[in-house]
C-alpha cells in the first residue's frame, strides 16, 4: 500500500492553486449571492502566494508543506476563510508530524484534525451552512474508507465525493455563521462558497493522489 509523500503534498497544493484560479469567478459569484463577493479572489490570492513560496522554499515533508500552506493562507487570504483554512492546515501539519509518507490512517487523521481546527476557530456546527458542512462528511467518509483498508488515494477520493455532496447539501440551508447568516431565509437556495472551495480543494487532493498512484508527473495542473 503506497503512502503519500512530499511530492503528493506539493502536487496537492499546486493543483489546488490551479483549481482555485479556474473557479475564481464561480466562487466570487457564490459569495456575491450571499456574502460579499470576495471568496474566489481571497482564495486565489492565497494559493498564488503558496505557489511562490513552494518555489522559494520547497518543503521536505508533507507536514512542512501543510505548514507552509497554513502560514501563507493565514497571511494572504484574510476574511473568514484565511484564519479558518490556515488553522485547518496548521492542525493537519501537527497531526502528521515529521512523517515522510502518509498512510491511509494518517491521511484520515490529518483531515479530521483540519476539520477540528475549523470548528475550534469558527465555532460552527454542522448544518450552519459553512465549510464545516463539506469537511465533516469528508472526514467521516475518509475515516470509514481508511477503516475498511482503502488506499490513501481512495480515502481522499471518498473524502472528495463526500465533500462535494456536502457542499451541494448546503443549498437549502439557512446560514447561522458568517456573512450569509445576515440574510436569514434569503440564503436558501444558494451554495455556501466556503463549502464549495473546500470540495474543490479536497478533490484536488484526491486527484493528486491518483496521479501519484498512477505515476503521472507530480505537480501537473488539473
Amino acid at each position: 500500500m503506497a503512502g503519500l509523500g512530499t511530492d503528493w503534498a506539493v502536487a496537492w497544493l499546486r493543483r489546488s492553486a490551479a483549481v482555485v484560479a479556474e473557479h475564481r469567478v464561480e466562487l466570487i459569484e457564490l459569495d456575491r449571492a450571499i456574502g460579499d463577493g470576495d471568496h474566489g479572489e481571497n482564495m486565489d490570492r492565497g494559493y498564488t502566494a503558496i505557489l511562490a513560496r513552494l518555489d522559494e522554499t520547497p518543503p521536505a515533508t508533507p507536514g512542512a508543506a501543510f505548514k507552509l500552506a497554513a502560514m501563507t493562507l493565514m497571511s494572504k487570504v484574510g476574511g473568514a476563510a484565511g484564519p479558518l483554512y490556515g488553522t485547518a492546515f496548521l492542525r493537519a501539519a501537527t497531526a502528521v508530524g515529521e512523517a515522510g509518507t502518509l498512510d491511509s490512517g494518517l491521511v484520515a487523521a490529518a483531515l479530521a484534525a483540519a476539520r477540528d481546527g475549523v470548528v475550534a476557530r469558527g465555532k460552527a456546527e454542522s448544518g450552519d451552512k459553512t465549510m464545516v458542512d463539506a469537511w465533516t462528511p469528508a472526514v467521516d467518509a475518509a475515516a470509514a474508507a481508511a477503516a475498511s483498508g482503502a488506499e490513501p488515494s481512495a480515502v481522499l477520493g471518498a473524502a472528495a465525493d463526500a465533500a462535494e455532496a456536502g457542499a451541494v447539501a448546503t443549498d437549502p440551508l439557512i446560514a447561522r455563521k458568517g456573512r450569509a447568516s445576515y440574510l436569514a431565509e434569503r440564503a436558501i437556495g444558494h451554495r455556501d462558497p466556503g463549502a464549495a472551495s473546500s470540495a474543490l480543494i479536497l478533490r484536488a487532493a484526491a486527484d493528486a493522489a491518483s496521479d501519484a498512484a498512477s505515476g503521472a508527473p507530480s505537480g501537473a495542473a488539473a
Binding site: 466570487i28 456575491r32 450571499i34 456574502g35 460579499d36 463577493g37 470576495d38 479572489e41 481571497n42 490570492r45 493565514m74 497571511s75 494572504k76 487570504v77 484574510g78 476574511g79 473568514a80 476563510a81 484565511g82 484564519p83 479558518l84 476557530r121 469558527g122 446560514a175 447561522r176 455563521k177 458568517g178 456573512r179 447568516s181 445576515y182 440574510l183 436569514a184 434569503r186
Partner: protein, 333 residues
Amino acid sequence: MKKLINDPRAVVDESVDGFGRAHADLVTVHIDPLFITRKQAPKPGKVGLVSGGGSGHEPLHAGYVGFGMLDAAVPGAVFTSPTPDQIIPATVAANSGAGVVHIVKNYTGDVLNFETAAEMAQAEGVDVRTVLVNDDVAVEDSLYTAGRRGVGGTVLVEKIAGAAAERGDDLDAVTAIGRRVNENVRTMGVALSACTVPHAGVPSFELGDDEIEIGIGIHGEPGRHRIPMENADGITDRLLAPILADLSPAPGDKVLLFVNGMGGTPASELYIVYRHAVGVLEAAGLVVERSLVGNYITALEMQGASISVLRLDDEMTALWDAPVHTPALRWGV
C-alpha cells in the same frame, strides 16, 4: 464597471500610497505588510489604538489615524479583513508600553484575524484588549447569526476611545469607554444601489429600479428586507424605528445623531435625512446634543445612508468634543 483605478488588484496599495502622500504630515504608510501609523509619535505611556478591516470603507480606518484617534490602521483587501501578519506589527508599533486596544468590527473575518494577531502580539509582550463593535440593529436575531455587525458606531468608538487614550486614560479605562460607546450606539442602513468590488467587476447585488435594501451592511452584502422605493422621510422612519426600539432611550436623554453616507449619496440628501431624523428624535423627547453628517464609513460608491444614534453621557460628550486631528476628522486643533 467604470472606476478611477488602474489594476483592480492594486487598488488598495495605490490608494493607500496616494493617501500617505496627501497626508504625509499626519501618517506614515508601511508596506509589506501594509499598515498605517501616526506620524507624530504618541506621548510615551499613552494607550495605543489600532483598528482595521476590509478596504472600501474610506475614510475608515486610515482616515482616522492621528492625534486624538487611532495610532495605527490596518487595511485589508477590498471588503476583506486584514491578516495577522499586518495586524501584529501595527500593534507592536502602536504600543508605547501602556498596552493596545484593538477596535474590531464584528465580522467573522475581522474577529478571527484580530484574535490571532492579539494572541501573537500578547506573546510578544504587548498587552492587548479588544473592543468589539456590533451596533447594527438590522441583524435581528443574534443567537442564530454571526451576531450584529459593526457599522457606523465604529467611527464614534474610535473618536471617543481615542480621546480617552489621548488624555491619558489607562488600558482598562480606554477599553471600558470604548465598550460603553458600543453599548450605547445603534445603527441601521439603507442602500439605493449596490456597489461594485473592483476585482469582482459586477455589482454586489441587483436592485430593481424601484427597490431599496433596508438594513444594508457596508460590504454590499444584501440587507434584510427589500422594499419598493419610498421617500426620504419614510425611509428615515424605517431606519430609526428599530434603532429606538433597541436602544430604548428615555425622554430627556441626550444623543449624538450621525447620518452617514455610503459613498455615492450627495450631501444634500444626507441633510434631508438628518432633518427628518432630528424631528423624530425630538418628538421622542430626546435632545440632539451633537451631530455628524457626511461620508465617514462607506461602501465604495454605494448610494444609501445609515443612521446611528448614540446615547451620550457627559464624559462621552466631553471626549467627543476633545481636539482631533486626522485626515478625515479634525477639530479643535
